[in-house]
Symmetry: D2
Subunit: 101 residues, 4 copies
DNA sequence: GAACTTATGTCGGTGC
DNA sequence: GCACCGACATAAGTTC
């Protein structure tokens, strides 16, 4: 699109915005627009995957699994086994201290 | 309510907004403002309590307790004991099924 | 606190946990329990206020106000007026740059 | 791995778990495991895209743009233009009612 | 300590 | 009528 034509020396010096400023603004606009659109495309992709994940949960649910528990399982699997066990052990200690046996 | 007095015959009939409309707008404004301010007061209170909670956690942390574990404990204590045990048991089942022993 | 009695010299030296350890554990337990219960009380209070807030929103909604907009308003009112205007102005600039007029 | 061997008639009838139950458990396990692993793969993909998005924001930020404003812009662009204008107009009305001009 | 992401809870709507 | 579903709101956890 850019700029051919409007650079041709405006006689009207009363304008409060210069050509140069317009050019910079346009460049900036395109920079911004590009970034925004890229983010939007990526977010669509991300949403698509999110929907896929939801589908898998639905499928498991329809087979009788409890999705909340599955979420917990997945959270646990993200941890390193040793860390996980340490965490579980500490939780048990606290439960014992409070009589939650 | 209010409004007595300024209803006395405006000569200027060119106004596009009638007195009646202004009255309603004012009433509505005050209704809205009242609600908004009430919410803001309540949110301040709520924030205060949130800060108190944070303090208790800090205190416990400084005594050597692990706040993350405490949060889990509090979540568990919110459940009815039977529900809690059922949930824990299901989690154990799933863990066993996936070899997370 | 409590504890009277079990300090009286256990003859049974085969125990793997000493009285001293039990004492410390009890103290720690009570410390933990106290904190946990205090947090739970505070969270109840907090929940009560949250319910009050919800009531005000419901009331406003039943009078025809849009709660989503009210939430935005309250968020805006949390800002310092100058900051708010600066933010709004920047948003307008970006909107203009992207042709969202 | 699955099942070869354990079907071959255990003589030990005192076991409290039958072969049939084991089979079902194994099937169920594999069903569960499959779902869990599929979710984990999808979540990784999702995270990758999330990282890409973060990169674009960083890039824009390093060029001088305000990421918070960009997020608002993107939220606005998600709406249908008419809805967006209706929302903005309502917000303006409420602002005026509360003297936020 | 601020901001972003994820998880959980809640509410209004809709289908069986 | 109840239960599921999506949207919204809040809380929690994570990261920089």
């Amino acid at each position: 699109m850019s700029g051919i034509g409007h650079n041709s020396a405006p006689a009207d010096v009363t304008l409060s915005v210069t050509d140069d400023q317009l050019d910079r603004a346009n460049v900036a606009s395109e920079e911004l627009r590009g970034g925004v659109e890229r983010i939007e495309r990526l977010e669509e992709e991300k949403k698509g995957i999110g929907d896929d994940i939801k589908d898998v949960y639905s499928e498991l649910k329809s087979k009788g699994y409890d999705t909340k528990t599955i979420r917990k399982i997945i959270a646990l699997r993200k941890m390193k086994p040793d860390d996980r066990r340490a965490m579980e052990s500490m939780l048990d200690t606290y439960k014992a201290a409070l009589g939650m046996d």
